[in-house]
């Protein structure tokens, strides 16, 4: 930066950190830089910076686009996938990236019970073999057609790591991969890790020789904030340039201030929030478990509950409008597989309808306003909110009050995610508030509602599957099986729509809303962000590194006076210390003189 800073006496020379370093605040610390163990969103973002994948998600709609694989094809029987690799890609230590590296990376994932398998293996359960027939070709064999395999090769899926480094690493599970062991962190991605300070920040240097073009910024830093408030303050003060995942309330703060230097971005996300219902807990062999309220087995009761909830108000009040009211289960972000019920089918807020349904189902108002069923059991449901999610606690209160209006008593309890997982697995719940992150492919979503995902019982020990509704419907099972085997996307879409409709009609969940990604950045510093998907999508934490490679420092039309805040504060501190010493010394001296004499 050419502008000399006025009064900057402390550091006149060029700072060690580039002025065009892009600094983004992250709310969850990167749990590990090792792509085989990290679980949190920023960690996957970091892997995407450091490594390449066979494919990427398109910035427009997240469908697979070429990355390391320039093109790929499936055999007619759908059992063989052949990827043709890009030539001339080099690792950051200068070595060539070849199909051997790809094979090495994928083979690790196939080893049963390995750490790598635990991390990425679920999408490869029917992969039989991977091969590298030549330096530029990579082949995957499966035992059955697997429509969702391609998604697992995208960013967020299996990264391609350098064989010559990783083959020497013994204990992958505890390998930090942050250079702290003296081994350089070698990657092929657009950025390379240069400094990792857990709990503080992670610095990445741009890779000038990146095959898809050098990034426009020289450095990218992720700074961890435990506290969202301070992260927002930091953005306002210019200590950071970007915040990727704001809560609605913090977003609101920026919105109401409407600082012209801060641009806000609000777009759909892959999270769907629901009120989960216990439709009758049982194990995979249909043995009933738990103590769920029997009334919830009645679809009318479940539907009544949805009618009683004013989703729009819920969104407006607890999220300040930063979400979209939901009916179907899949997120609109996964536009290819999105299904929204037709207006006539939608159960919009209608307490009278809810009451009517409950009356029909035989639940009459009791003495204290709580309805009582034919079996004499009052409609008192446990409603679990989660201690980790404050908005769920807030929302539970709303839902409790709305349910009261229709004669249902919700007994709200707040438990940890962990405890709730346990309770759900054992069927000891009635209702809960939670959410799902659905990937681009619908298979994951639908599998959750299959019979086989219910709990299993081994002696007395019950272990939960993924089902948290204990939904088990033959028609739905059938649809699920069909959609896995269908390789034609258009035909598959029809089946998936039917499956989603089945879920909605049976009110397995009362789906509440589709969450939104809320982001903010300083437009006086960086520009050129590439949202994914194109219409109001996420600016970072993408499938791919589209934004990171595209952003460039913003050069103001007229150079604003340089802020030398750093050196000024030093002066302030020094002044304060001197002043404090002077005052303290004077007081001390005075006191001393006055006490020296004449007092006993």
């Amino acid at each position: 930066d050419a502008t000399p800073s006025p009064g900057a006496t402390v550091s006149a020379s060029a700072p060690a950190h580039a002025k065009d370093a892009f600094v983004m605040g992250i709310k969850a610390d990167i749990d590990s830089l090792n792509p085989y163990v990290g679980l949190l969103v920023p960690a996957f973002d970091a892997y995407a910076l450091m490594y390449d994948y066979l494919t990427d998600g398109s910035p427009q709609d997240m469908t697979p686009v070429p990355s390391l694989a320039e093109k790929w094809e499936t055999s007619a029987d759908g059992l063989t996938w052949t990827f043709h690799l890009r030539k001339g890609v080099k690792w950051s230590d200068g070595k060539d990236l070849t199909s051997a590296d790809v094979k090495f990376s994928y083979e690790r994932v196939l080893v049963p019970d390995s750490t790598e398998n635990g991390q990425y293996g679920s999408s490869f359960s029917n992969v039989t073999k991977v091969e590298a027939p030549d330096a530029d070709t990579f082949v995957i064999h499966t035992s059955e057609p697997n429509a969702s395999l391609l998604a697992a090769t995208m960013a967020g899926g299996v990264p391609v790591v350098p064989k010559h480094i990783w083959e020497n690493i013994k204990d992958v599970g505890s390998y930090a991969n942050d250079g702290s062991d003296g081994k350089p962190v070698v990657g092929s991605g657009p950025f390379q890790l240069v400094e990792a300070k857990k709990g503080q920040y992670y610095r990445f240097k741009a890779n000038p020789g990146y095959w898809n073009g050098a990034p426009h910024i020289s450095e990218l830093t992720m700074v961890f904030f435990q506290n969202e408030e301070t992260m927002v303050q930091a953005l306002e003060k210019g200590e950071i340039d970007f915040i990727s995942a704001l809560t609605a309330k913090a977003f609101n703060a920026l919105k109401t201030k409407s600082d012209p230097t801060i641009t806000l971005n609000q777009g759909p996300s892959q999270y769907v929030y629901e009120l989960g219902l216990n439709t009758g807990a049982a194990t995979v062999d249909n043995t009933p478990i738990g103590d769920g309220h029997p009334a919830l087995k009645d679809v009318k009761v479940r539907q009544a509950i949805e009618y009683a909830i004013d989703k729009q108000t819920l969104v407006d009040k607890t999220l300040l409008g930063a979400a979209k009211v939901a009916y179907g289960e899949n997120s609109p972000l996964n536009s290819a597989w999105y299904w929204d019920p037709p207006a006539a089918m939608k159960r919009t807020f209608a307490p009278d309808k809810a009451r009517q349904l409950l009356d029909e189902a035989g639940y009459k108002a009791g003495a204290d306003g709580v309805r009582v069923g034919p079996d004499g059991k009052a409609l008192t449901f446990r409603l679990f909110a989660r201690s980790e999610a404050t908005e769920s606690q807030d929302q539970a209160r709303y839902i409790q009050e709305w349910l009261k209006e229709i004669g249902i008593k919700a007994d709200v309890q707040v438990v940890s995610n962990d405890a709730l997982t346990d309770l759900i697995g054992k069927g000891k719940y009635d209702m809960f508030l939670w959410d799902w992150w659905w990937g681009p492919d619908p298979e994951g979503l639908l599998s959750v509602f299959t019979c086989s995902q219910r709990s299993t019982k081994d002696g007395d020990a019950i272990s939960g599957g993924w089902s948290d509704s204990f939904y088990c419907n033959p028609e739905f099972e059938n649809l699920y099986k069909q959609h896995v085997a269908e390789m034609d996307p258009a035909k598959r879409k029809v089946i998936v729509d039917k499956a989603l409709e089945n879920l909605y009609v049976n009110a397995v969940y009362a789906t509440l809303y589709y969450d939104q990604t809320l982001q903010a950045y300083r437009n006086d510093r960086f520009t050129g962000f590439v949202p994914q998907p194109a219409s109001g999508g996420s600016m970072v934490a993408q499938i791919g590194t589209w934004s990171y490679r595209a952003i460039k420092p913003y050069t103001a039309p007229a150079a604003a006076p340089e802020d030398s805040g750093g050196s000024r504060t030093v002066l302030i501190i020094a002044g304060a210390v001197v002043l404090l010493l002077a005052v303290g010394g004077a007081v001390f001296a005075m006191r001393r003189r006055s006490t020296a004499d004449d007092r006993e």
Binding site: D31, G173, K198, G199, Q200, Q233, G425, E443, G566
Partner: protein
């Protein structure tokens, strides 16, 4: 006189001799037993915790089959009989190893080692400041027991003592760090990756607010202890004797009262030094200070039991070790303890 020389050396030796092997061994063994107790308690406390960590740390939203879950559970060491696990744990502990953190994906020992010094820096600075200022205030206030200075000091320090330190931290951020406030200090973290200050100055700059919050709140306990021990000493006969010798009031205080009164405060200081590492959980959370407190807060949202367990062990060990040091130093500075 030559005797002075001879016995002078003797006295110094006596001083050290106060630390008889038996005394030292007794204290060390006591501390070790306590540590063992804490370890055992700690171990089982975290074993009776509810929940299935395998599920917690398998990311929700991705499909997973029960077999993989089982594999993860086995990796986490579940399934073995409890005593076998406990023995394994002790064995590992003896080799300076703890378990593997679920959430940090690294050995608990490493995770703790990284965060140890930032905490010591933050809380240690605050504690030393608080101790120095607090003892100074307490000594003055106690000596002038009942004076306006005493009342003002007690009232002020007690008021600060009633303030939750994290709340004070929030207020400090509003006033001194936020853009709408004075904006003098960084809002959070330990250093700024883009800062052009020398590293230590940058860290110092980041420390100002959290240290202030901690110091202000901690001061009271030292003020009060020092004050009451000075008051206890205030009417001691040897002070009357000192006064009768013709010493000035401040001489009586500084030469005689202060040193005696310092001893109880020192105990307090050492005890709180032990609490240094655990003392700043909330402040580290508010200021995102990358220390053990923040680590425990991170471990809490899981919860990552091995990590919590490790942090907990370090916290307790710190207190035990500091107490041990206090026990060992005490006879060196207080001649009376040696007799016991």
């Amino acid at each position: 006189m030559s005797t002075a020389q001879r016995t002078g050396g003797g006295a110094a030796r006596r001083r050290l001799r106060a630390l008889t092997p038996r005394y030292v061994a007794g204290k060390v063994v006591g501390a070790a037993v306590l540590l063992l107790f804490v370890t055992i308690f700690n171990y089982f406390l975290f074993r009776v915790m509810p929940g299935d960590p395998a599920k917690t740390f398998a990311p929700r939203g991705r499909n997973d089959d029960p077999a993989a879950l089982q594999a993860m559970r086995e990796r986490m060491g579940q399934g073995k009989p409890w005593w076998e696990k406990f023995l394994l744990y002790l064995d590992n502990l003896a080799h300076g190893e703890l378990e593997h953190s679920y959430s940090q994906h690294q050995p608990v020992v490493d995770a703790i080692a990284e965060r140890f010094w930032p905490t010591v820096l933050l809380s240690g600075t605050a504690l030393v400041l608080a101790a120095v200022i607090g003892m100074w205030l307490g000594a003055r206030a106690g000596w002038r027991h009942g004076s306006r200075f005493d009342r003002a000091t007690s009232a002020t320090s007690l008021t600060w003592y009633s303030v939750p330190e994290w709340w004070l931290g929030l207020i400090l951020i509003i006033v001194f760090a936020s853009k709408s406030g004075l904006g003098l200090f960084p809002v959070s973290g330990m250093s700024d990756p883009r800062s052009d200050l020398p590293y230590w100055l940058d860290v110092a700059h980041h420390m100002v607010l959290p240290v202030t919050a901690l110091t202000v709140v901690y001061i009271a306990q030292y003020t009060l202890v020092m004050r009451s021990s000075i008051i206890d000493e205030r009417y001691a006969d040897y002070l009357a004797a000192a006064r009768a010798k013709g010493l000035r009031d401040d001489q009586v205080r500084n030469r005689h009262a202060l040193r005696n009164a310092l001893l109880p405060s020192l105990t307090q200081l050492f005890l709180s030094l032990g609490f240094v590492v655990s003392g700043a959980i909330t402040i580290e959370t508010v200021f995102s200070w990358p220390g053990l407190g923040l680590l425990s807060e991170q471990a809490l949202s899981g919860p990552d039991y091995p990590l919590l367990e490790g942090v907990f062990l370090v916290f307790s060990a710190a207190v035990i070790v500091m107490n041990l040091i206090a026990d060992l130093i005490y006879p060196l500075i207080d001649p009376r303890v040696r007799a016991a």
